[in-house]
């Protein structure tokens, strides 16, 4: 209810009956809602308890300590068959977060390129980008994941005929294999140098910005910062005698051993997720850039600002305000959509926890509750950060 109507209703209430008093009515409606909610919840809970006891279903969390006993195809954190269900839950979360993180980075990159391509002057590129977006966002993701898996990753050669790059990277239908870094003594110094580099870069950037605001003189802080972050650790690494060995995968028996690897299901999921999400991001980027009134560009040009700077100081800050909120919600969508991994059997949280573990242990309520709890926690955290950002960039309306 708007403030205005509330006031007018409140003014009238003194002369008319209490039924028309906005405040009293508000309280009444709220109590009514509360009553219905509490009654409904109580009803559901009592039914559930009765059902559980009558059907002899176990509902506790005690099973978390039991041994799971099944193999998980791909685990980011160590896991063996004998580990507990709790560990399976953690493995699922780690895998989901990994997919989400990589997917978000790739989707943003592809989406940015495609969004710019849709504004390209090249007719073919513009239309390719348009049909890319149209086709991919109008077919269900579930089908796309399957299509990527069977249309590409399962068609790759067998391990013996792997596609290889320099004998260190291998791609075949069992996965993508790459060398694993094995830190030797003294590698810690490189890490320290990296940390120092980052701190120094941030400090320089801050200082440069303050100087720009104060004096108007700019400083190439990004270039210098990048140099610090790259050069400092590299120099330390070389000075300490390159203390890093590589575990290179090699074909032994059926498969490659050693190194690191990701299964084809992971690749298919990542590619499908990031390409699908990139379509939405492309549209967001396009809409964002187009939302900045052309007059802004013209005004900046009239003041003699260079094109690159127009983009950086005039268009981007305004476009980002439009872009960021829907972009974040696409990131959340991507995270939630990773639950479709179940279609090709990549062990994400839903697949490994709500499918396999539920089937082996039969504890529906705790398992579904834990799964939903995880997604809720992720989403609420992101929403919270989003609200902070929104508050910072919102145009204040007088």
């Amino acid at each position: 209810m708007t403030a205005a109507t509330q006031r007018s209703a409140a003014g009238a209430s003194r002369t008319t009956s209490i039924v028309n008093d906005a405040f009293v009515r508000g309280v009444f409606y709220q109590l009514l809602t509360a009553a219905i909610l509490v009654g409904g919840l109580w009803y559901l809970v009592s039914n559930t308890i009765e059902n559980l006891s009558q059907r002899g279903m176990a509902a506790g969390f005690d099973f978390l300590g039991y041994s799971a006993g099944f193999n998980i195809v791909f685990t980011l954190i160590p896991y063996r068959e004998g580990d507990s269900y709790l560990r399976v839950f953690q493995v699922g979360i780690a895998n989901t977060l990994l997919v989400a993180a990589i997917g978000i980075v790739l989707a943003t990159a592809i989406g940015l390129v495609m969004g710019l391509a849709r504004l390209s002057t090249n007719w073919l590129i513009r239309n390719l980008a348009r049909w890319y977006v149209e086709v991919l966002r109008n077919t269900p993701l579930l089908l796309q994941i399957i299509a990527w898996y069977f249309g590409f990753f399962n068609l790759l050669p067998v391990p013996r005929q792997s596609i290889e790059w320099g004998g260190t990277f291998f791609l075949n239908n069992r996965g993508f294999y790459f060398p694993a870094p094995v830190p030797q003594d003294g590698f810690g110094w490189t890490g320290v140098a990296l940390g120092l580099g980052i701190v120094a870069a941030v400090a320089i950037h801050r200082w440069a910005r303050r100087r720009l605001e104060a004096t108007g003189r700019s400083f190439p802080s990004v270039l210098v910062g990048t140099g610090l972050v790259v050069l400092l650790p590299t120099a330390t690494f070389l000075l300490t005698g390159s203390p890093l060995a590589w575990d290179i995968p090699a074909l032994r028996g059926f498969n490659f051993r050693g190194g690191l690897s990701v299964p084809p299901t992971f690749c298919a999921l990542i590619v499908a997720l990031s390409i699908y999400t990139s379509c939405f991001i492309a549209e967001i980027v396009r809409a964002g850039i187009q939302s900045v009134s052309h007059g802004q560009t013209e005004a900046a040009r009239a003041l003699g600002v260079k094109p690159a700077r127009i983009m950086r100081f005039v268009i981007l800050p305004q476009a980002l305000r439009v872009i960021v909120p829907p972009l974040i919600s696409q990131y959340l969508n991507l995270t939630k959509n990773s639950s479709l991994a179940i279609a090709i059997g990549f062990p994400d949280l839903v697949s490994v926890w709500m499918n396999t573990s539920l089937n082996q242990s039969g504890r529906a309520i705790p398992i579904v509750a834990m799964t939903m709890g995880f997604y809720c926690a992720v989403s609420l955290t992101v929403s919270l950060l989003m609200n902070l950002y929104n508050r910072r960039v919102q145009i204040t309306e007088r």
Partner: protein
Amino acid sequence: MKKSLTLLGAASVLFAMTGADAGAQQTLAQVKQRGALNCQVGLPTPGFYALSADGKWSGLDVDMCRAVAAAIFDDPDKVRYQSVTSAVRFTSLANGESDMLSRTTTWTAVRDSQLGLEFVGVNFYDGQGFLVPKASGIKSARELDGATVCVLTGTTTELNLADYFRANNMRLQAVTNENVNVLVETYLGGGCDAYTNDKSGLAARRSAFPTPDDHVILPETISKEPLGPVVRHGDQNWGDIVRWVLMGLIEAEELGVNSRNLDEMLKSDNPNIKRLLGVEGNIGQGMGLTNDFMVRVIRHLGNYGELYERHVGANTPVGIPREESLNALWTKGGLMYAMPFR
């Protein structure tokens, strides 16, 4: 405020009443009242619960549902099939949605004791095996160290595979999925070195390969898979009904009673046959059925042997020979053994 409190009170009383009312119903009574059996099968699978292009369910496990419906209603078509993924099968039974589950489910201790389920018998003995390309030259499952194996997820198959590799100290890379066809496509595309499943399914799948002769089933059977119908724990009477319909099917074959000679057998002097068909005794009534419940089952569907040959026998596309296998009658060297009808 007063109003809403009254409302809350009224609502809670109402809810409590509806909750208490429906409590004590038994499964058989519910099924009879509904007029149909809610029987859970799996996603379509040849031989056991197949769905044909004309929309009809058929198969060994489907006939188990139909047999129970025939015993209760004298009409095998009074079944509502519920086809759900294996992930939710036990929950769907435990929450009361399905009356029974008949979908190649392996009888294990944990499932029987901890999931609120009750296994009533075995209608098919299976075992897990491996399918490999002939060109790989593999002759034994022991040679699979380090291999990538395609396996159905959410099943005992997945656990057995992990166990077998652990027990033999071999490295395993599994490709899991809940859809057999995805696994088969992966296997045919070279995405895994071997495909594992219950042996009953391997031969049928191989027959649908482009060149079936290029693939061999390894001799090892790495697990015991006693498959059978399942009911909810706690309703003993309902469990008895499903169990004795299954036993009756096997007993009928042992006694030579089938759908063709049923009418002659009803006149038989053999006391075992008389008790099976309810001419003597009151076995059926004791369970809340009619005494001639097995007559109904056999008339509509036949005995266990007939079911087997109709859906999974050597002359079907699934093609699993019964002689010499675990599924032969105990009198012929198998494990099919009905408890005595008396």
